[in-house]
Structures are given as C-alpha cells and as structure tokens.
C-alpha cells in the first residue's frame, strides 16, 4: 500500500472557521491579514498578522467548555478544527477502530505562560495554566475531548511540524499500528513568537509578498487544521468517501544553519525528491506546488532554487497561500494540506496574492490569478528552523 486515504478535514484560520469559509476566501481572493487585536503588543502598528478574530472566551463557548477551563489558545483552535475533521469524516465512535492523534505545535501553551509568568508565583488565580506550557498538553486536550484512547503524540519541528505529523500518521496506518489517525497542527499567535521573529528581522511591516523581488518578510498567523487518515480496510468496509490521498512524503535536513536555509536549498531539494520517489511519481506528474513561500528573503530564494533543481525548466504552476493566512508556523503544513486537497477537488490553483515583480535570481513566477485546470497531484512544501525540510504529496481520489 503506497497511498493513504484522507476521509475528513477541518480548519480554522484567519480566512475562515470552516473548510467552506476558507475555500470561499481563497476563491474570492480575500486575505485574512490585518492589524492584531487579541494580543497587547508594542509592535501592533509595525506588523501585520493573520489573526482569527475570535477571543478565547468566544472559542470556549463555541466548544461548550466551562469558563474556568485551562485551555491555551493553541488547544482551543486545535480542538475546534479537529472536531470539524472528525465530523467531516462521519466518525461517531472514536474508539470503534484503533485510533490515534498526531498533532503538531510550536507555541504550545506559551500564550498563557507569557501572560502569567510572574503572576504564577504571586497569585493563585491562574495557576491552572502552569502545566499547560508543554507542547503535549494541547494534544491531550484534543484527544480527551474527542474520546481518543491510544497513540497520542505531538511533533514540534518548528514550521514543518504538521507536515511531519501527516507523515507519521501515514506511516502508522501503513504499518497497521493504527487503522485511523487524526493528523494536523495548531498554533496561536503569541508575544513570544512575534518578538522572536521580530528579533530575527524577518517580519514584514506590510502585507507579505511571496516570491516577489521586493519582498519584505513574513506575516505571522494563527490557525489549526486536521485531516482524518484511514486504512483501506475501513474505507472499503464503510464505503467511505475519500477526499484525496497522501501519496508521498519526505523529510530531510538542510544542515546549514539553525534558522536560515542554504542558498541552494539542498534540504528542500532532498525532501521533494524523497516524496516524489515514495509516491512513485515523476516531476512532470506534479500539477501544482503549494509552496512554503513565507516571503522572507532567505526562504523564497532557497525554495525557488530547490524547485528549479527538482523540476528543471518545467516548473509546474506554484503559489504560496501565506498572503491569505500569514505564516501559521506548526499549523502551516496542515492548513496548506487542506488547501492542496481543495485544489485537487475543485481543479483550481489558488493565487499567490500581492506578487508584482519577478525575483532577479531566477525566472520563477507564481500563479497570481485563480487558475482552473485538471489537477492530479499537488506537492506541498514546509520548512522550519533547525534545517527541517518537509514535503507531502497529495493525489486525487479516483
């Protein structure tokens, strides 16, 4: 078995609280990048973000959680998207099959820790948030709420995290350790990441413009998305509708620098090559690349070079959807997995908004208008700190 069936998906991002809302925004070219409202930061007027315009209290109410819950925003967003995915897959009993949850996050409970860091010692009131700092807490909360009892784990490899969650999930299905697995990622905006990326001087003060010669950096975002992967046995037995397949994946390390990508994008090249090989596809079989395309100087050059190395003169249509959502860190690969699946289902390539000027280093020009064409295979890239490079290939359900 080389392909793994995707039977459900759920998403919440700056462009919508459901798959349908996200699709509508992508089709109508409406970006979710805005001025930050939910976090009190000095940088409010010097950055733009892909923020979900709901408070934690509003999210808690939508999730029917008690008001004194100890959910981080990361956990709230994660549970919101994971519930949708499970519903979309038509799952009623979480433990009818051997089920697991593989979630990804980089922020974890930092959004609460940063609020109460000194307060924890002084004040008893918010101590319920002490033990939610570790990244596994959000996964546990999602699993408990969905009633999953089994393999529950969390991956954190910075901005490639949820691609790696999809990878592990597919591996667990193939090796028959699990029959069903919910995979994806969640990350909330936090002062910690805003200031971290600010010190690295890679935050744009305006709307991000991937693959543009005059790009000024990234916009951070927050989001969560999950896919339901199921074994062929379940799909056949229950006559499940398959949304798409995970047909290939690869992870490699750039081994160049802790936070920067090598100029020739070797790690990215290796990840794409591995994914193509596993999918048993040739480069010309890829109809669309959903690029990592963060709009930093470094990423877009490195990724572009790597794409040229893999595809030569015949680079397929590509775009980055980060002008819609911002860079949602550990959730990025999961929301872009949803967009890749939508591209396969609708035979549409979503535009790389804000692009004006071709980069001087190469001739790559992203798709800038909605483009309809038959799409059989989508390649999605995600790269993170620590040289972590991941590629997942999604293929059409026939």
């Amino acid at each position: 078995m080389s392909k793994v069936a995707i039977t459900g998906m759920g998403i919440i991002s700056a462009i919508g609280n459901s798959v349908e809302e996200n699709l509508n925004a992508l089709l109508s070219g409406v970006s979710g990048i805005s001025t930050i409202e939910n976090i009190d930061t000095n940088h409010r007027n010097s950055i733009k973000v892909g923020e979900i315009k709901m408070t934690n209290l509003e999210l808690s109410r939508l999730l029917d959680l008690p008001e004194d819950n100890n959910f981080s925003r990361t956990a709230l967003l994660g549970l919101y998207a994971a519930k949708q995915a499970v519903k979309n897959a038509g799952i009623e009993n979480s433990n009818e099959y051997k089920t697991g949850l593989i979630s990804a996050t980089s922020v974890g409970g930092m959004d609460m820790t940063e609020r109460f860091f000194y307060d924890f010692i002084e004040n008893e009131e918010n101590r319920r948030y002490i033990l939610i700092n570790d990244a596994g807490d959000s996964s546990h909360k999602i699993a408990d709420n969905l009633g999953i009892n089994g393999i529950v784990t969390t991956i954190s490899t910075a901005c490639s995290s949820s691609a790696n969650a999809i990878m592990l999930g597919a591996r667990l299905i193939k090796s028959k350790q699990l029959e069903r697995v919910i995979v994806g990622g969640t990350d909330a905006l936090s002062k910690f990441t805003i200031n971290g990326f600010k010190t690295l001087m890679i935050l744009s003060d305006t709307f991000n413009t991937p693959f543009d010669n005059n790009r000024k950096g990234l916009n951070l975002g927050e989001a969560a998305a999950y896919l339901v992967l199921e074994s062929d046995e379940i799909v056949q037995k229950e006559g499940k509708k398959v949304l798409a397949y995970v047909s290939g994946y690869g992870n490699a390390n750039d081994a160049f620098h802790q936070t920067a990508s090598s100029e020739n994008g070797e790690g990215a090249f290796l990840a794409m090559e591995k994914a193509l090989k596993l999918a048993n596809l040739n480069p010309e079989d890829i109809d669309y690349i959903n690029a990592h395309g963060t709009a930093t100087q470094n990423n877009d050059l490195s990724e572009g070079r790597a794409i040229e190395s893999v595809f030569g003169k015949n680079v397929p249509d590509f775009s980055s959807t980060k002008p819609f959502t911002g860079h949602t860190l550990a959730a990025a690969a999961a929301i872009e997995a949803v967009y890749s699946i939508l591209a396969l289902q609708k035979n549409i390539i979503f535009p790389n908004l804000n692009f004006k000027t071709k980069m001087e280093e190469f001739d790559l020009v992203p798709v800038t208008e909605l483009k309809e064409k038959n799409i059989e295979n989508v390649l999605s890239n995600s790269f993170g700190f620590g040289g972590n490079c991941s590629t997942v290939i999604f293929s059409k359900s026939k």
Partner: protein
C-alpha cells in the same frame, strides 16, 4: 520485517553514567529535590567558542549522541529522532523574561533561536552535516517513546539502517519553581530520604540526555533487541494489569517470561499507585527495578530506564542500588519497562537479550 537492536548508548544524567560501567559510582541525593546533570568535559566534544553559545540540553545531547555513535562504531546516520518534554526551556525562559522585563524592546535572537523544540536534533545534524530525516517529538512522558516507535518502524521496513534516537530535557529555574507550586516537584521542605517511603505529592526532578544507536542488524556491541513498544494517552490504575497482560500476549509472552521489570516509581503519592498493583501482584516473583531516585524525574526520564534495561541485558547483572526486591535470575532474557507521567502517557517497552 527486520528486528531492531540497540547497538550504542550515550547517557548524560544526574549520575556518572559516562566513562563508567553500570552505576558503580552513584550518589543518592537526600537533600535536594532538584538534581542536576553531571557535566562531561564539553571541550572534548565541542569547540569552546560554539559551546559557550549552546544551551545545556544541546551540549548534553551532542555529547551523549557522540558517545553512542562511537560505541556503536557508526559515523553516518539515516535519521536523527529526538524526544523532549520542554526542549531548551532555559532559553525559552530567558527570552520570555526579556520580553516582559524590557517591554518587548532591546531583544536579541539567540535565546529565541535556541528555544525551538527541535534545536538539539537540528544542532546534532548541523555538527555531523547529516541531511537525513530529523524529527522531534514533544508529548510529555512519551516524547522519547514516540521517537523510538518512529525509529523502529523505519528500521523494520528497511527504510533506514542506522538511527540515532535520544531523550533530552533540561531544568530551568522558573519552570522548576512553577512545578513546585503545582506540586509536580516536591517542595523544598520535603526531604527525599527514599522515594519508596514518600507519602507526599510530587517527584524529585532531574535532567539528562540519553541517546541510543538503533540498527536493524546485530553487532558485537549489541545491547538488546527492542521487541515491542506501545503507549497510550490515558489509563486508570485498575487497567494497568490487563494492559500489560495484553501487551505481553501480543508478543506471545506471559508474565512468567519477564525476568525483570523496570518501573518509573518516583515517590509521588498520587501516581505511584499505578505501579503498586503490578509490583505487589503481577510481578511479585520477577526482579523489580527502579531508577528515578538516581535520575530524577522529567518528561524523558524513561530514556534512563531504557538505558538501565539495555545494560542489564548486556551485562546480565542488576546493581543493588536499583533493586526493588530480592528476586534474582540466573539469566535475564526479557525485560519490561513501564512508565507514566502524572498519570498520563503510559508506555510499555519490551527488551530482549541478544
């Protein structure tokens, strides 16, 4: 399917577990509820200039992985897979403190860069120029076991032949304080005379970096075979016995086939009950072992337990200091390791003699 073997070990812990054989020079701390790692001579492994900028967990990870690779006589890796509960938490604290103290101004990126959970795996790859698969698991008490499971699947299917797997956690002042407030770590006035006699909440904290070279071939240095691994997010204390029995049954074994059982007992009155029934009943005729009085507890402390199990199977001896009972076997063939963290993330690991 290929079998999976442990062919090299490197362990930086709160005891002298490098440059030693098997716990012959241990100190059981009775005054401190927070143990710190015994530092190796970093300059033997890392250039001093680079070392100064590195987090404690990164340095310990680099040294432990170098020791494991040397012992297994491998120089190239097909994957680097790490597990950590909190990553380089000291740098996370440092960056967060400077955000708050300086009101988001005058910040430098170094501690932010190191705060990412996959820093240790990334830095090991950078040092070795290893462009292979590189994953980091961060799920509390089964962070390390997740890394082991991932590695095991890849070795069984021959996708990889040689994998470096490690568990790393470091302690940091604020987090330690928070854990004391939350009674995860015992408070200062509760002495840890013996974790077996504790009737109080919380554990003795520790830190460490324990690395393993896993391969799908046996070598002259093989410690043990990793026959099976399983973990589950939630279990009630009364489900542990049946969970273990079914885990053993899946491996065509019965309780009597287990020669030694390694338990994660940590002196926390709320959670040691998970070990009680199996200690008093299921495994009462089995050699029982504990180790957290030596390692302290932390999210990836079970990697120390796997290190203990590997040593027992290779050396065929159990040091007195880790014995819970007096059962002695002439031959240790099958070792079961069970751990949980705060009542969650239960893991079961079966090691076999080679």
């Amino acid at each position: 399917m290929k079998k999976v073997y442990i062919n090299g070990l490197g362990n930086i812990s709160c005891q002298k577990t490098f440059d030693s054989v098997f716990l012959e020079e241990v100190v059981v701390e009775t005054d401190e509820n927070v143990l710190t790692a015994k530092e190796p001579v970093y300059k033997d492994y890392i250039l001093p200039g680079a070392s100064r900028r590195m987090a404690k967990g990164v340095k310990n990870g680099i040294v432990a992985s170098a020791i494991a690779m040397k012992e297994a006589n491998v120089s190239t890796l097909d994957a680097i897979i790490t597990g950590t509960g909190l990553g380089c938490i000291e740098d996370s604290e440092k960056f967060l403190k400077s955000i708050i103290d300086n009101k988001e101004e005058f910040l430098t990126p170094t501690s932010f860069i190191q705060s990412t959970h996959n820093t240790v795996g990334g830095q090991i790859a950078l040092g070795l120029q290893c462009k292979a698969y590189n994953f980091t698991y961060v799920n509390g008490g089964i962070s390390f076991e997740s890394a082991l499971l991932d590695a095991k699947m890849q070795l069984e299917t021959e996708e990889s032949e040689t994998i470096l797997v490690g568990g790393i956690d470091e302690s940091a002042d604020f987090t330690t304080n928070f854990f004391k407030i939350a009674k995860v770590i015992k408070s200062d006035n509760e002495k840890n005379s013996s974790i077996l006699d504790q009737k109080t909440k919380g554990h003795i904290a520790g830190e460490g970096a324990t690395f393993f070279i896993l391969e799908n071939k046996k070598t002259a240095n093989t410690y043990a075979e990793i026959a099976s691994i399983s973990f589950v997010n939630r279990l009630d204390p009364n489900q542990i016995e049946s969970q273990i029995e079914s885990f053993l049954a899946e491996n065509l074994l019965a309780v009597k086939d287990i020669d030694a059982v390694i338990l994660g007992i940590n002196g926390d009155v709320d959670f040691d009950k998970y070990y009680e029934a199996i200690s008093n009943n299921l495994f009462k005729n089995t050699a029982q072992i504990y180790y957290k009085h030596l390692s302290g507890d932390y999210h990836t402390a079970s990697s120390f337990g796997v290190w203990v199990g590997s040593k027992i199977l290779k050396l065929q001896e159990i040091p007195e200091i880790i014995r819970l009972n007096s059962v002695v076997k002439s031959n240790y063939k099958n070792v079961l390791i069970y751990n949980q963290y705060l009542g969650k993330d239960h893991s079961f690991l079966l090691l076999k003699q080679c």
